[in-house]
Subunit: 427 residues, 4 copies
């Protein structure tokens, strides 16, 4: 959130900006669950995932907890019980309901959660209309944070739902299947060279960013090359056919142990049918598209693939340094494809959208990083161990949520996100 206050000094512009951001973000959440049954919205298939209904409620809780309760005099919570039910992990915001049991909360029902959303929306509208000039910058900052928070949950809502649907042998589709894209430049692989040296990375204070993206700071980089596009399913199949999943020396030790324990032989959601590889996705089960970027692979698999390919994963500083040279454009949630698509452009392409890109960097604090005081400071900082950084954005990321400095992070064994990879090598 570095520098965000400055952005909201002119009140009317800020009001318009934040108000529009708020309504678009909130509407998008509702749009995503259109056409789903109440039964779908309650599913929780693992502790890492949450029901769609919970996402709808928790993102509203965020506004109540961090904005309305603080800035609306004598604010009365829509339902006191929701404070407990829909707090995720903010220990300084009070007790929380048990995470693995979120799928057992049939009440409030979906309709009651939608009522909750409407009530929060009305209160936020009122607050934006009536807030004092003094409080206004901070209110805007927090509402903006809440919107970006909700965008994160929009992506999670989709990946969590896909994970839950994957347990259903009838293979329900979130959206109707669409034909595979036909054009592609994916077969050839182009390398883009970077000189490195003493560069700067991190958020520079323009526009929104999470606290973990700053401060901007110096990093020394050796010269390196970055692949012009993401690794494709065709390349992944070559890895599989070459025994990629059976050759321990290609793998990190922890990765091999996980692969053995889980019996991995292909990316998550892949299955064989009549001798052909298919995958299950938000558009149901479809044959694997050879030119599309591979997705739903763990860090361990990405790392093993890179070793097999005689390359390596990029460091996050390399990735960000390169990403600053291209526009933030790509296959995002708004495109409505809900799955990664083949690269079309030449040069350094697919830096944003399609799939998140594993880096070889552990998720650690930047030099000088300090989280904000209070519960809001738990947003990012307390996860800075055991997770690895992913960069870019995916086909389930809202466009406004993508930027060069964005640091996504997951545990190296996790596969249910739209996570793939791009190769790098020493120059």
């Amino acid at each position: 959130m570095a520098g965000s206050k400055a952005r909201f000094e002119v009140a009317d512009d800020a009001r318009d900006h934040v108000s529009t951001l708020y309504s678009r973000t909130r509407d998008r959440s509702l749009h995503l669950v259109e056409g789903l049954a109440p039964e779908d919205l309650g599913l929780q298939s693992m502790e890492d995932a949450s029901p769609a209904k919970w996402h709808l409620a928790h993102t509203s809780w965020f506004f109540e907890q961090f904005v309305l309760d603080r800035f609306v005099p004598d604010y009365r919570f829509v339902d006191e019980r929701y404070l407990y039910l829909f707090n995720s992990y903010y220990v300084q915001a009070g007790a929380r309901f048990s995470r693995p049991h979120r799928g057992l909360v049939s009440r409030p029902t979906v309709n009651e959660v939608l009522d909750y959303r409407h009530a929060v929306d009305a209160a936020i509208d009122d607050l934006l209309a009536s807030a004092s000039e003094e409080a206004f910058p901070e209110i805007c900052e927090l509402i903006e944070l809440g919107c970006h928070h909700e965008m994160q949950h929009q992506e999670l809502l989709l990946t969590d739902l896909l994970h839950a649907f994957s347990f259903n042998p009838t293979r329900p589709a979130f959206r109707a299947p669409e034909p595979l894209a036909v054009q592609s430049r994916a077969e050839t692989l182009e390398w883009c060279a970077f000189e490195g040296g003493l560069v700067e990375i991190g958020h520079d204070g323009e526009g929104f960013a999470f606290d973990n993206e700053g401060p901007r700071h110096k990093v020394y980089l050796e010269p390196f090359d970055l692949a012009g596009r993401l690794v494709t399913n065709r390349e992944w199949c070559a890895f599989m056919e070459d025994g990629g999943y059976e050759r321990a020396p290609l793998w990190l030790s922890d990765g091999w142990a996980e692969r053995e324990a889980q019996g991995w032989t292909a990316p998550l959601y892949w299955f064989e049918q009549d001798g052909e590889w298919w995958s299950f996705g938000l558009r149901g089960a479809q044959p694997v598209d050879p030119d599309a970027p591979v997705t739903h692979v763990s860090y361990y698999e990405a790392d093993a693939f890179a070793r097999w390919a005689g390359a390596r994963l990029p460091r996050e500083a390399e990735w960000e340094h390169a990403a600053e040279t291209v526009a933030v454009d790509g296959n995002f949630l708004e495109g409505g494809h809900f799955r990664p698509r083949p690269a079309l452009a030449s040069g350094l392409s697919q830096m944003f959208g399609d799939v998140w890109q594993w880096t070889q960097s552990a998720y650690s604090p930047y030099p000088g990083f300090t989280p904000p005081e209070g519960a809001i400071g738990e947003y990012n900082g307390k996860f800075m161990v055991n997770q690895w950084v992913l960069r870019g954005a995916s086909c389930a990321t809202p466009r406004a949520h993508a930027r060069a400095s964005y640091r996504n992070f997951f545990h190296p064994h996790q596969r249910w996100q739209f996570a793939g990879l791009r190769l790098a090598r020493d120059a």
Copy 2:
């Protein structure tokens, strides 16, 4: 099912009997889920329990699998996928969906399952109207079995739903609370004496029974006494106050290990509020009724209580021998109380209804027991190890499902059924 064929020899009587039994049974299932949200019907809180929706579907699958597919020429299944989704444990009936993941099957939705039920009902109606005289007795026998099967699942639907609701901190009530009963003779405990000797137990061939209730056979019993009523919550509180949950010598070794591992200090669903014991039930959270029978206790707890009380649990043969002396009457599902109630009558009371009664008998085959051939033979026989027999019936058991020879069975650590106890002692 011993002797059941004979009952259906006169076709018209049989048709009436079976047709009425079928429609009443099927209607009761629908009646039970009235007023519940689709969100409620999908909940599965542990592997032992299933979603209400699954119970509604599985009981229909039973009729398709064992009646319609066999007796309707060229029968077309309502949905082939349901054969896999809604088979419970009949390995000879084909592959089954993973039991612990039943709660992840949002599709078919509740409405689709209700459609499934209607289609099956229509097909059964047709079959009963058109079946050949030759096939008729067996059809009737199997439909009757399916109805009793559905009655079992009606009870499970309630206990599974209660278990799921118990995870919700808002404590949803299946039915609105009702005031506690006021009259009771529960405080005094009367013992009823039985002489024993060489007696007979087991189903005698009149009326419906499951295969595991026969054959009727001789058992030698020493003289014994049976308590005139069930153990009450007041008595259970005395056990607790006397350190019942903290004194290892009162417990079986496996029981103590389970108590330690689970941290049991009271029956399931009990909680303390302002220094008073409350319990959660189908009518929401209410103060524990001291005169009502204790329920939701494991075999281990029941056994420890009996030892503490200087008594023991009855053997199943003792119980059945005694039960043959009283009418099958009590607080059943149809009474609409949905919770155990205090004893009112004197003499040997509460033998049926209120709560199932743990016996000290392992669930084993009677001498001469042989299960039927084929998948239907998996109904009972394959569970004859590691489970303990409960007798009687509960406030969630349909009246038609209660009889002296009925052998219910659960693992000794399980507590989510309406299970309590009656004391016995050597004469």
Copy 3:
């Protein structure tokens, strides 16, 4: 221990009897561990098993705890810390060291434990020489109990050691291999008929027995047949070749789940080598002897085999009723074979020795059973749930420990004992 006091009324005879029993029993324990390394004696391969060194110490603790501390004025324990370290499960005798960590107790060393044994032996000798006439019968009774307790642990010492050795890929042999027996009548199977009726079982008060073997009581038996010998490895191989381990309908439901979870495809310790079945035993790895009784099978496997063979397991009352007709003779520990051997005699043979025989009876209290007061009452009674009765004795059982009324018991999934089976059928 019913009636045991009467046996020790004539003091000098009793002294001789008990003194001889004591020294023979204690010597046998030492004899068993001759030739083993200190490294061997500390092994614990699972929670169910204990190190040989622990058995040597615990059996000494038993005499200190239940005899010396009670009858020797101002008795000083050899080492106070041993009270904690070597109590097994007697909660009324005080706190105990964690069972799964027994293998981590390198100190006391083997030599220190042997010193412990010698000190206890000397104290028992002194006590026998000096005990008052009044205390004498009870002292004798408890020493006799301690000896039978130690005999149980002699068998466990062997089965636990075998289990530990089985993890060592170099396959150490407890005793050098011996050639297979050549003579056998095992190929033919003879059935022995019994009329049943109202019979009596249970210890009758002559000679030593554990509390759980009484009281003697009436049981009604239908007519039945018992196989003349134990099931052989040849028969077991036929079961395996007929898909016995792959056909779910042959198995109890819990048994099939265990078989799936553990991947059982043969008895414990069997392995294939050059297309032939071998097994690992106390005499190292040897080819499976087709005529010898099968051993190291669980209750679940025994039950599945019996179903496959069109028979069933005997009930314990049937077995005991039949066993009262034959002499207590067979292949016991003293024979020094340390493995089951083929049947030689005709008629009802192998009732004792070779392998324990699974029955279909749950381990439950006999009518009128009451355990003694105090810690000693924990010996048997508190295990009367979840375990199944085995009858007979094995090649690792001391001869003096075998009798018709003996009730051995283990959980149905356990396989590391010398446990096999004999078939029964309804007449």
Copy 4:
């Protein structure tokens, strides 16, 4: 091992150097186990730890596998079975015995393992005496690697033994207790300032180093301060008294979860006795020395402490940059204290010895890192995920094993090493 070949060009010097290093290293291993019983040497208390006997054998296997088998013509392994038993994790060197079962291998016995060591020593002596000039540099390099490998295992032998002993309620001491040190400057905390900038870290090619310590490379550092000494037990007690183990906001999220799951309330091996904190160590149980450095803390605890103290853990580049300014001196294994001691000197002290120091750096490959080909390349590279770097050395580290560029690494939850911390802060 970068640059190590150059060191061995002059044959006679190299022979002397390597021969001396070899005999000293091998002797030290034997010296460490003097006075221990065979029973002690077989203990394995968790999967992370190994029996002392295994360490003695595995370090010999290393020489057989990577030196003797390669350079001795027609080399015959001492025992072919040891190749399987004593390979640790080198998948390219063949199959391995199951790690969690190392404690179950009673055979070979301790004496047989000592024989194994002698045979390997003799073969290495022969090889050093007879190797061709051409092969000599590589032989020396590999023997040197094997010696440093053995030094690592000497430290592990001690920490693994301590862990095993900690399960024994009699608290065996590896060495007799010694009185606490009396002099100390630990109470005051001095900060040492460093300017940072574009610096170099990594092994520079002089002397032995593991592959993971290079290549030397540029890193940009912001100005920082480093504490002049390690965090003491007194400071740790202040953290505990201030609720350090009860305040979730001080902890990383994964750390708090681990603390909850494990019930941590103090460092490993601490226990309260009569209101005072004691700890168990290689010299048995002793009162906690307030001036000595805290040890046996996880990364999670170290990180929480630093946050509580308003500081942070150093980055590994900061630590190494600072360490290059001081001599490699301290409380090492050879000092014979076997426990951390209070700081005595002023300025930047305790950089080496006493306890390893957690850094906030994930264990990742340096830019340009490439492991050697073949099994030997598995030494370090395949562990470069999920582990965190520790720097310095401990009271259980051989002096020759300590250097500024050394990268030790463990998982953030592990506590059985001599691991403590030094504070850092932004300048």
